[in-house]
Subunit: 471 residues, 2 copies
């Protein structure tokens, strides 16, 4: 399909979907069509553009030149002159960006309800939450409005909404995609992520965006290779390294995928899942086992304890370092432009002292070493991506408590420098259920290979868009 | 020589040296001789012990079972039941520990004067400082009282005293030697180091102590390999990895050593050296050049700025996290048991907040990326180890200012996750001059190979012990 045809079709679908809350800024169709014409011209001239003919949405904490960036707060709005590195690389590869998507304000939340631009309704059931913070990006992909979308992920924001909308969410190893031009949530933990309906497409987009840009220091300092700690099985050490395009090593790893050793949590660590989810998780594990993987039960206590440090310790102070000054200076807007739950979290984060940070850092290092010991020799940890699928009303009744439950299996990954991949695993009671593979830094390609063996045999599930337009 | 003979000789030398301030606790000779007998028996029974027949001293912030640990503060003293991991490994390899050495209190200082156990006088000139914080360990080696000694290094404590006493100081990549049983200075930055009179002996001791112990989380998490950032020349990437024993890769690297690319600072960044030291440094660089190395001038501004963050920013709060509670609870001892300069630094470190820490961390990451860019493709940075050799009286007049000057080229290494090796480079005006090679994480073996090509052709310089006994 030509880029022009794809763009025109996408605007029709956006119009038909009746989900205006997905977008904070939808680009004028004429602008997008003009860019699509240029892409078609480049293709016609013989250029090979890996993302030509695809349309994308971008979370509104990532700069797109000429479109306002709000991070979900009208008072924070600025007009960037340049694309974020990730966006510039997508556009250079032929993708056309259609607009900027809604999010939990300052990327602080896993729910999709914390935005003055409106609560983003779930793609499958508009009474339920989309998940967040990358709410609009996930729903735009799930409804087929765009081919893929960018999110960000600090505590699960690129994975929880993937699970709740039945799509793929890739959270690469930290540092693989530069964060230049991204409004920080916790700068040292943030990752640009990709939502798509298939793992190969998501990874193609990651490959286009990967590599140091000379501006984001972590993209220079971290690289995409293994970094010690949790080691993959010896025979495959390094085989899955690299967050970029497929390589010979990837192909070798794929051939090995049947022999993967996959950790799953203790049964008690899977308590508290929504009705039917434990069974769905067991089915997913059984599919992996029947494809030849070895499934081993592992006590993930150190991971769960690390997760609790993200908001329960001083690490949250990094959110204040990012946008605390803005919130403090605009305190009169709390309840209006500024979401009260988000503002409370961020202002409260100023209370921690540096001595406490170093004590928490030591606790985290000890937990990380214990986690590495527990998972040593495993290719990946398999968990549900999240724990339940609340209604919007349920979140409004307990905004912090429900949010915390949603992050049980996602909160620890960035703190512990892990890669993760959320994939759909069928439906339960007519709503999507998602599983997640989490692996050590640099294991991105390996996770994708394993995910390929975990896919349900049936067709790709998707929401009934006609129904949703009515809903 | 038998272990028994070596131990007996060492006690004679200690007696003859007349430097009681070197030691905080000297072990009873009978105990050390009994241990030496056991070593000789093991050797006689056919065991191959890599450190048999060698005697060692241990800085008194590292546990030796049954000897008190003070960290230089009588009020902090405790009696450890177990050896530090590093010490246990040395003893298992046949080394006999003779005692615990003096240090700048809580390893906070580069001078050797900040101890209620007395100022440690320099091995070559008792009017001058030993350097610190590993003051007693360095002087014990320089005077030939022991074959090697353990220090620690957070900001240069394992290197500055090596330079000022004309010996070798090895600061391995962070995480190579576990810090279990070491009183922390800045836990996340601390390294166990080795002083010796030759690089091969120092590296043999490092090899014995290297490897995770299942207790220190950083030894598990960091490993000894390259970690992104500053990359070695492509043809040798990985050749110098590993902090342990020599390997085939090491041998290949040694064959390559003549082709090393060595960075040196801009001339302006070598201003402020003691009289004659700039010329001595130029001679050392010339020796490397004449042995085939390529010498390239590099602007090391990002390294020097990072150095200033160690005490000028919130990183110092980690010292409070380590021992701040003790100092605060014993404030009445400041000026007595507690060194007033050290106590002031540590108590003042409580003032930083976590938000400020995250801002400093971002500054440091940006500096680290700039440093990696500046040094990319170089095997090592060559600098003087320190900048001047003050008298004890000069330090007493300006204890903080002189200390800061001494750390110009050492303060940044641990913050930026670099390996470093300090080696003697002749004498200036009858006092030792030292140079230092600093390289990326995992470059430890490569630094040793390069150092071998930088050695002065003449005999090993050493202090005149007879003169010193008189002095």
């Amino acid at each position: 399909m030509s880029a022009v045809a794809r763009v025109a079709g996408a605007y029709d679908a956006i119009e038909a979907a009746g989900r205006p809350e997905v977008w904070i800024t939808l680009r004028p169709a004429a602008d997008a069509l003009a860019e699509a014409e240029a892409v078609d011209a480049r293709t016609a001239a013989g250029e090979r553009l890996p993302l030509a003919g695809l349309v994308a949405a971008v979370k509104d904490n990532i700069d797109v030149a000429g479109l306002p960036t709000t991070a979900g707060a009208p008072s924070y709005e600025y007009l960037p002159a340049e694309d974020a590195t990730a966006v510039a690389r997508l556009r250079a590869a032929g993708a056309v960006v259609l607009g900027k998507t809604n999010l939990d304000q300052f990327a602080t939340g896993l729910v999709g309800t914390r935005s003055p631009y409106g609560t983003v309704r779930n793609a499958w059931d508009p009474e339920r939450i989309s998940g967040g913070s990358s709410s609009g990006s996930a729903v735009a992909v799930a409804l087929g409005l765009v081919d893929f979308a960018l999110g960000t992920d600090t505590a699960g924001s690129g994975r929880v909404p993937a699970a709740l909308n039945g799509i793929v969410g890739v959270k690469p190893t930290r540092g693989v995609i530069p964060c230049t031009g991204v409004v920080p949530a916790c700068r040292s933990l943030d990752c640009v992520t990709v939502f798509a309906r298939s793992v190969p497409l998501a990874r193609r987009a990651v490959a286009v965006m990967a590599g140091p840009d000379g501006v984001d220091p972590l993209a220079t300092l971290l690289g995409s290779g293994p970094r010690g700690g949790w080691r993959l099985p010896a025979t495959r050490a390094g085989a899955g390294a690299g967050g970029g395009a497929d390589t010979d090593a990837d192909a070798r790893a794929r051939a090995d995928a049947g022999q993967a050793r996959i950790a799953v949590p203790l049964p008690a660590q899977l308590a508290g899942l929504a009705d039917g989810w434990a069974e769905a998780f067991e089915s997913a594990a059984a599919r992996l086992r029947s494809s030849g993987a070895e499934i081993v039960t592992v006590d993930i206590t150190p991971l769960l304890e690390a997760a609790s440090l993200l908001y329960g310790g001083s690490f949250v102070a990094e959110r204040y370092a990012a946008v605390g000054g803005h919130v403090r200076e605009h305190a009169e807007l709390i309840g209006g432009d500024l979401d009260p739950v988000v503002a409370t979290i961020i202002l409260d984060a100023a209370k921690h002292d540096a001595v406490g940070y170093f004590a928490d850092r030591e606790r985290l290092d000890r937990l990380a070493a214990r986690a590495a010991g527990a998972l040593d020799g495993c290719d990946a940890l398999l968990t549900p991506t999240t724990t339940l699928h609340p209604t919007i009303a349920e979140v409004q009744r307990d905004p912090v408590g429900v949010n915390a439950q949603l992050g049980t299996y996602t909160n620890f990954a960035n703190l512990l420098d892990l890669a993760a991949l959320a994939v759909p695993a069928g439906t339960v009671s007519g709503l999507p259920f998602g599983i997640m593979l989490t692996g050590p830094a640099g294991s991105d390609a390996r996770l994708a290979e394993i995910a390929a063996t975990a896919e349900p045999g049936e067709r790709h599930d998707e929401p009934d868009v006609d129904l949703l337009v009515v809903g």
